[in-house]
């Protein structure tokens, strides 16, 4: 397939735009000197991943990313940053770390393993009978995957209680 054929398909144009924006935003997240800018560009990267899920037909996952990650997690990040310190311009605290090269190496390796395992598992195969509708996801969650589902909710509850215990101060005796 030549590049002209590839680029005339609207889906490929959309994918290219989204992917480039995501990569750019992800680089800014780690390179910026301002912690609020890092959180805001993370939103762009997450929105890009939601858009890719929409393109793949996985609507439920896409809107969950928007609702949970953008609407709640990043908002809580920002809330935490702003309530403690709200740097404008360059942050006085260095957002860097001495072990940045080992970290970069591990990030690159994780990317390599993920990319290799997905291409090795699926290759150019087209998956036509995916679980797309919310109804089907719900059916599967509460029949075949009910044990993992319950286990995850239990772990989440434990994490919630643990968070409260760690955060609260015991009254002086």
């Amino acid at each position: 397939m030549s590049f002209t054929d590839w680029i005339t398909d609207a889906r490929n144009v959309v994918f290219l735009v989204i992917a480039l924006v995501m990569v750019g935003a992800a680089v800014v997240v780690v390179a910026t000197r301002n912690v609020v800018h890092a959180a805001l560009t993370l939103v762009v990267a997450l929105a890009g991943s939601a858009a890719l899920f929409v393109m793949l037909g996985a609507e439920f996952v896409a809107w969950t990313v928007v609702l949970v990650y953008i609407g709640a997690v990043v908002v809580l990040f920002l809330f935490g940053i702003m309530i403690t310190r709200a740097p404008i311009g360059r942050d006085s605290v260095r957002l860097d770390h001495v072990r940045r090269w080992p970290a970069a190496l591990i990030a690159a390796s994780v990317f390599g393993v993920m990319a290799w395992s997905t291409t090795a598992a699926f290759g150019g195969e087209e998956i036509s009978d995916g679980v797309l509708k919310a109804e089907n996801i719900g059916d599967l969650l509460f029949s075949r995957y009910v044990i993992p589902f319950e286990a995850v909710s239990f772990v989440l509850l434990a994490a919630l209680v643990g968070g409260i215990v760690l955060a609260r101060k015991d009254p002086d005796r």
Partner: protein, 342 residues
């Protein structure tokens, strides 16, 4: 090859047409709602402008307002974080515009009937919080920051009861598609007036609690009186909007009024039967019925604004966490049990 080009054209043309329609509908209705608010407030509080501006009926008042905002200088404070400050109003407005995509005006007049309509509306609606936080932080002003933090705390607190109230309707209707929810109250209704085949809206068959919770949460999400602590002028100047002027202030302003319309449209679809009215053909009268119901809810929102005093910050938080959320959870429980039993 030719087929690929045809598809290409089709996709972009369709996308542009749909986007344009959504944006035009949004701006048109916002202007009408602004005018309605001015008129209703003028009648309820004896304000003079909206009675006489432009001669008859005060019709020129919203246009005069718009012109006033447009010709004001668009100031950016020297200390502000310029790019974030400039983008914040757009983020706020975009999250409201995106909700309009799934508002059904008739069985066919809907930009896109998503399988997950309700979920989508709540998800993109939550992005607005981000715009408010961005505005509050980037202004480099303590009042703005406090306003932004208050707004974020309020929006997070009231998103939960809103989602839970909507979830009860989704359980009762058995679908998340906006068109499907209207169908469940109209043409193939789950509940009808005994002896006839006239469908009943969900608000009349047990979802009155969810409806009240939804409308309270909607007012809080829009930061309108009595939930306008983030922009309380006696405490915070104008909260996260303090440093905004000109066109960027207008965008926040528009986002509030478009938000009123969007929230009312979602509430109408979920609880009041959307475009359905017994005896009226929905493909002809659908949009008019829908608009009448939406206007009713918008009127209630303006009415509340004119007559209620502002709540206190701690009252607002305890109302959400201690009363509305448990109530909404109980409502889901009752709905689910009745759904199985009946």
């Amino acid at each position: 090859m030719t087929l690929a080009i045809a598809l290409f054209d089709n996709f972009w043309v369709l996308l542009t047409v749909k986007l344009l329609a959504v944006v035009l509908v949004l701006i048109g209705f916002s202007l009408v709602i602004i005018y309605a608010e001015l008129k209703i407030m003028a009648h309820m509080q004896a304000r003079i402008g909206p009675w006489f501006a432009g001669g008859r009926y005060g019709w020129a008042q919203p246009l005069a307002d718009a012109l006033k905002f447009l010709q004001k200088e668009d100031l950016v404070p020297l200390e502000a974080d310029s790019p974030v400050f400039r983008i914040a109003p757009a983020v706020s407005l975009m999250s409201t515009v995106a909700v309009f995509v799934i508002v059904p005006f008739s069985p066919t007049l809907i930009a896109e009937d998503l399988d997950l309509g309700v979920f989508y509306a709540l998800a993109v609606g939550s992005i607005g919080t981000l715009g408010v936080l961005m505005a509050g932080w980037s202004s480099a002003n303590k009042y703005s920051l406090m306003g932004g933090l208050r707004a974020a705390a309020q929006l997070i607190a009231y998103e939960l009861p809103m989602v839970l109230a909507a979830a009860a309707v989704v359980v009762q209707a058995g679908t998340m598609s906006m068109a499907g929810i209207v169908d469940a109250q109209g043409p193939d209704a789950l509940f009808t007036i005994p002896g006839t085949d006239i469908g009943l809206p969900f608000v009349m068959v047990g979802q009155i609690v969810a409806f009240v919770i939804f409308m309270i949460a909607a007012l809080a999400e829009l930061s309108r009186i009595p939930f306008d602590m983030p922009i309380a002028e006696s405490e915070l100047v104008f909260g996260y909007l303090t440093e905004y002027s000109g066109i960027r202030f207008t965008m926040f302003f528009l986002a509030e009024y478009a938000g009123m319309f969007a929230m009312s449209a979602i509430a109408t679809t979920l609880f009041l039967g959307g475009w359905y009215f017994p005896g009226l053909n929905p493909s002809v009268f659908g949009p008019a019925v829908m608009m009448a119901k939406v206007s009713l809810l918008v009127f209630v929102m303006i009415w509340v604004r004119v007559t209620w005093p502002r709540l206190r910050e701690d009252q607002l938080q305890s109302a959400a966490w201690r009363y509305l959320i448990p109530l909404a959870l109980g409502n889901i429980l009752v709905t689910a049990v009745l759904k199985v039993v009946l």
